[in-house]
Symmetry: C2
Subunit: 101 residues, 2 copies
DNA sequence: ATGATATATTTGCATATTCACATATAAATT
DNA sequence: AATTTATATGTGAATATGCAAATATATCAT
């Protein structure tokens, strides 16, 4: 099936999901969540070397737009990918990016 | 290879490309350019039933960010996909979107 | 060469959204 | 109450968006 079969609502949905991941920091976050990994806010901002509040903000965006899920365990909140099929998109993006254009 | 292997420059590039397509109108435009099709500004704005200047604006964005190429033939400008591998991304998006979440 | 027409691009405007940072606040644990 | 971890708020700046109008480009007839 082709994307032209999508209705306006679906285009909006696809657009929102793409917006969610269309930022270098959020792409980097997702890259660390491959293979079903779950990471805390602290782990992520230390890995990426950015502001703690900036990290939480981006995680909030990804969660709000249905890309990530979260799970509080004591003081820590673990974030993980909601759908493994998102890897498909990210892998496609990396493939196209590596082709260099 | 994983997206975590990407360098900052590549994350930026991937992000820009995703930003380029992360809009309902631009997704709809791309959907009509599958299978190597080439369309004019007039064909596109009539297909999508939107303002002529809005269409030209979005086409400009897609061209500027390296998603589309254009080719003037007389009064008409034909737009087409720069890399067929972009279909991969769009097809992944439609797949994930159709899974409905 | 000029004016008219068709097609496309650009400009200006107002509005909305996004972003990073610093700080404040909230929640959980000790 | 103090500490650790996380979320929310405010701010200023940057970016994105649609529309209407203006401008540019190409073609055609005169």
């Amino acid at each position: 099936m082709k994307i032209s079969d999508l209705k306006a609502e679906q285009l909006e949905h696809a657009s929102n999901m793409l917006k969610a991941i269309a930022h270098p920091v959020r792409i980097a976050i997702l890259s660390h969540l491959e293979d079903g990994k779950k990471l805390t806010v602290t782990q992520i901002y230390e890995l990426l070397n950015i502001e703690q509040s900036t990290t939480s903000h981006h995680l909030g965006i990804l969660k709000d737009k249905g890309v990530l899920l979260s799970q509080r365990e004591g003081k820590n909140t673990y974030y993980y990918l909601k759908h493994s099929s998102l890897f498909s998109i990210i892998n496609c993006v990396s493939k196209v990016t590596m082709e260099g254009f």
